[in-house]
């Protein structure tokens, strides 16, 4: 019976006596019978065994969780790869270029030389022909669009609205009934609006897709330590309209509406208020603006009962008619 009480320097006889005295047999034989000694018991191991079991279970659980997390991570990466394949044709620097144009327009740099209507647009049908090219649309407050870092957030709030609809498919007149005939569809889910404006994609859709192409998204997946973190990344991937993003990635035009509302209180029931707006149409392929206009927004001829619901859309529609009028 070996024991740690015995050292290599001890005489063998002494070592044997020490081993005999602490061994179970010696205790039975009388070696240490007079010393208060408890018998060896497996019960003494119980706390240690229990502790070992807890630790083991914890380690197993962590290992299992780690395996599950890795599986989830792999699935997320697979999903990402699939999405990236669909977005393979998106120009990597398109978003940056677009945001640069937007910032210039919002900050007023593009408008320093005044309004602009490219002569090519003045040709009848030329605006419609231009709008049929793949393009991007964003509308937002000047305050946000003039800051590069705020453009992505602002674009998230920009949807296809009455302005875009009426620019593509203008009403016959600014009469209330005509305007309402166009903008009602916008407020009731926009069932037709995407069809009518199919060549233009929202800037947000492109930005959502482009976000998946950046290496930081891979790093975020790798850095995820919990399943909820991976869930959040999965949601981001799944929320991307891949088709729209891919089409946005092919954009040749950029249509920007910059609202510059004054700081006064709203004057209309739908919280809209008359304000100036800038409209810019940029030829991304040729890297030049085609249209730069400043027009007031608000005051569309709507009955008081309709303004509460349709004022914003109707005002946008009226702005679109003003833009189209400027190209004639």
């Amino acid at each position: 019976v070996g024991t740690l009480l015995v050292t290599s320097k001890m005489h063998p006889a002494l070592a044997a006596r020490i081993e005999r005295r602490i061994s179970q047999n010696a205790r039975r034989a009388g070696g240490a019978r007079f010393r208060k000694a408890r018998s060896f018991s497996l019960g003494r191991l119980a706390p240690l065994v229990a502790l070992g079991l807890v630790v083991g279970l914890f380690v197993l659980m962590r290992k299992h969780e780690g395996g599950a997390l890795d599986a989830r991570r792999a699935a997320t990466k697979t999903s990402l790869m699939t999405t990236r394949v669909a977005l393979a044709d998106v120009r990597p620097d398109l978003v940056s270029e677009v945001e640069e144009w937007i910032q210039k327009a919002a900050s007023g740099a593009l408008f320093e030389k005044g309004e602009l209507v490219d002569e090519r647009l003045r040709v009848p049908g030329a605006l419609d022909e231009a709008l049929s090219r793949p393009g991007l649309y964003v509308r937002g407050a000047k305050e946000h669009l003039s800051k590069r870092e705020a453009i992505a957030d602002e674009s998230g709030h920009s949807i296809k609205d009455g302005f875009l609809l009426c620019l593509f498919d203008p009403p016959a007149s600014q009469h209330e009934r005509e305007l309402l005939g166009r903008v009602r569809g916008v407020h009731f889910g926009g069932a037709m609006i995407d069809e009518l404006t199919g060549s233009v994609r929202r800037l947000f859709e492109l930005e959502a897709g482009a976000r998946l192409l950046s290496s930081s998204f891979d790093a975020a997946i790798d850095a995820a330590k919990t399943a909820p973190e991976l869930d959040r990344l999965d949601v981001i991937i799944r929320s991307v309209n891949v088709d729209a993003a891919a089409r946005g990635g092919q954009a040749e035009l950029l249509l920007v509406v910059i609202d510059d509302p004054p700081g006064a209180r709203p004057t209309e029931p739908d919280n809209e208020r008359p304000h100036p707006a800038r409209v810019a149409l940029i030829d991304l392929a040729r890297r030049e603006p085609l249209l730069l206009l400043r027009r007031p927004v608000g005051g569309a001829p709507l009955a008081k009962a309709n303004r509460a619901l349709y004022a914003a859309a109707a005002d946008g529609c009226a702005l679109a008619l003003d833009v189209r009028a400027a190209t004639e």
Binding site: T3, L4, L5, T7, R20, F34
Partner: protein, 593 residues
């Protein structure tokens, strides 16, 4: 004086021939027995080993050493202690005379063992000579006596520490066990180093000690004690400020005593505790030490069992030396006697009764000489003349000489005897079946049944319990037949006429007579001269003790005078009681009303 006698004693011992042989090299594993040249194992080794382990582990012993020594065997002896022990007051003699005084005070191991050793002198002369040689060397060499005293002190401390763990202050078990091991080492060291120059049987202590010192258990013992004293050495640096207070305290260097086999690394020490925990022990450092202590003690057990026997034997010699010291302090002498053959003359010069000395009375030494040993010596003389004290002194002297120890004589020359029968006390017992004469006759019968040829017989006032004429017949019968056993007989008597007739008649060949010498005014000088006394001077004793006609008559008259007033007072008291009884019936109804 003693050296001359001792030299002669050595030669006399060698004359014995059959028992005194040239010393042969002892086997190396003999027990450290100081009483027997062959090295006897007198204690129950197995029982003692078990008891010592129990006491070491538990601290409870129940008088282990005392029990072991009371059950210890003694060497062969033809002496029968009941035949003389009580009459010679051996117990009292040992208690008062065989005291061991050391620098630490008076120490004792086992008085009963001492009494047993003295009461059972060895049969073989070579054993006696072995003891005499040790006593002589201790008496002649004070440095050896000091060593033996220190050895005895260590043994007594070991016994008291081993047996007295539960007494007094509460001991830490490990500390107590370490103290025991330290005392054991002290004993071994003293035995090995203190007696290297001894030439007598004391040299056995040196050989025993050296044997122990060369063994593994002793080395382990030293290592463990060193481990307890020095696990590591710390070098400290203490910085003191201007106000004298310590500003900084820093350990500069730590050096573990790595050469010691008990020293382990800190991690190993910790793991050893964990191991003990899983083996069912506690986890304190004390548990580790307890295991080591037990293992070391177990290795020493075969040597530790001799401690009880060794301590008791040390006490025999140191007690004898203490006896010699005490008599010298009274201006008396004690010596180792010269042992001669029974045919040689007996000489006891400066003989005194040690029992008197032990009780604070300075005895008057006397000289006792006879032409040969196997004689019947009739001692006569007045009462209180010292006859009985002389017989006691002779008996004790023979007892001590047979034990190889110092005798109460200035010079002594005597022969060993195969037995001793003493009849001094004639006290009456409540349950005795016979009267005084009957008991005396029973003892005479018993004497003849057990007495071997050549033994010593001491009889005081034989047959004094009956009328002189009938007593003398029995006396003559006893003395006449005793001579056929060639005893060394000492008999006192007041049958003066009969004694004179025996001496003159020559019917007893070996008869010798001694009488108490009387000095001026017929007072005894407590010396003894040849011849039979003419008178017992009973009237002298009666006068001395106030038993004369005039003194007894005055006592009678005094007692009579004392009795008269008490009788008259008793009569008056009775009359008063009668009056009170007569008055009581009349007064009782008054109390009720």
């Amino acid at each position: 004086m003693s050296s001359e006698g001792d030299t002669k004693a050595e030669s006399a011992g060698s004359v014995e021939g059959d028992v005194m042989t040239a010393p042969t090299p002892e086997p190396f594993d003999l027990p450290p027995d100081l009483l027997h040249p062959d090295g006897l194992t007198r204690v129950d080794v197995e029982a003692l080993r078990e008891a010592m382990m129990f006491a070491f582990e538990s601290g409870v012993s129940g008088g282990m050493f005392t029990d072991a020594l009371e059950r210890a065997t003694l060497g062969p002896s033809t002496w029968d202690p009941p035949s003389f022990s009580k009459d010679l007051f051996v117990d009292d003699f040992v208690a008062r005379c065989f005291r061991v005084r050391t620098r630490g005070g008076e120490l004792s191991m086992s008085r009963s063992h001492l009494v047993r050793v003295l009461s059972s002198p060895p049969t073989e002369a070579r054993v006696v000579e072995h003891r005499r040689a040790i006593a002589r060397e201790l008496g002649d060499r004070p440095e050896l006596r000091r060593e033996l005293e220190q050895l005895f002190t260590s043994l007594v401390r070991f016994r008291s520490t081993l047996e007295g763990a539960t007494l007094g202050k509460r001991y830490d078990p490990n500390r107590r066990q370490l103290e025991l091991l330290a005392l054991a080492k002290e004993v071994f060291d003293r035995a090995a180093n203190g007696f290297s120059t001894a030439t007598s049987g004391l040299s056995r202590l040196h050989r025993w000690g050296m044997r122990v010192l060369s063994g593994e258990p002793y080395r382990s013992l030293c290592d463990l004690l060193q481990y307890d004293e020095e696990l590591a050495t710390l070098s400290l640096e203490v910085r003191v400020g201007a106000d004298g207070s310590i500003r900084r305290f820093q350990i500069k260097r730590v050096r573990e005593n790595e050469d010691n086999p008990f020293v382990m690394s800190p991690i190993r020490r910790w793991l050893a505790r964990v191991e003990l925990f899983f083996r069912g022990y506690g986890v304190s450092s004390g548990e580790v030490m307890a295991r080591l202590l037990g293992a070391v003690f177990e290795g020493l057990q075969d040597e530790l069992v001799w401690f009880a026997q060794l301590a008791a034997e040390c006490e025999v010699y140191l007690g004898a030396l203490g006896f010699r010291d005490s008599v010298r302090a009274m201006g008396l002498e004690a010596c180792l006697p010269e042992l001669v053959s029974p045919e040689a003359p007996r000489v006891l010069e400066g003989l005194f009764n040690p029992l008197l000395a032990a009780h604070g009375v300075r005895p008057v030494p006397c000289d006792l000489a006879s032409d040969r040993h196997d004689t019947t010596l009739l001692v006569t003389g007045p009462n209180s003349g010292g006859k009985t004290r002389l017989l006691q002194a002779v008996g004790i002297t023979q007892l001590l000489a047979q034990s190889g120890l110092f005798v109460p004589c200035r010079t002594a020359r005597l022969a060993l005897v195969p037995g001793l029968v003493v009849s001094l006390i004639q006290e009456t017992k409540a349950d005795q079946a016979e009267g005084r004469l009957g008991m005396e006759l029973i003892r005479i019968r018993d004497l003849f049944e057990r007495l071997p040829p050549g033994a010593m017989v001491i009889l005081d006032e034989l047959c004094s319990g009956t009328n002189p004429s009938e007593g003398e017949e029995i006396f003559e019968l006893v003395v006449t037949l005793l001579t056929e056993l060639r005893p060394q007989a000492f008999v006192t008597t007041h049958f003066l006429t009969f004694a004179e007739r025996l001496e003159r008649g020559g019917r007893v060949d070996a008869l010798r007579t001694l009488q108490v010498e009387l000095g001026a005014g017929e007072r005894p000088t407590y010396q003894f001269v040849p011849g039979v006394a003419k008178t017992s001077l009973a009237h002298r004793a009666a006068e001395r003790l106030g038993v004369t006609r005039d003194e007894l008559k005055s006592l009678v008259e005094r007692n009579t005078a004392r009795a008269k007033p008490s009788v008259s007072a008793g009569a008056k008291s009775a009359q008063a009681s009668a009056k009170l009884a007569a008055a009581s019936p009349a007064r009782a109804p008054e109390k009720v009303s």
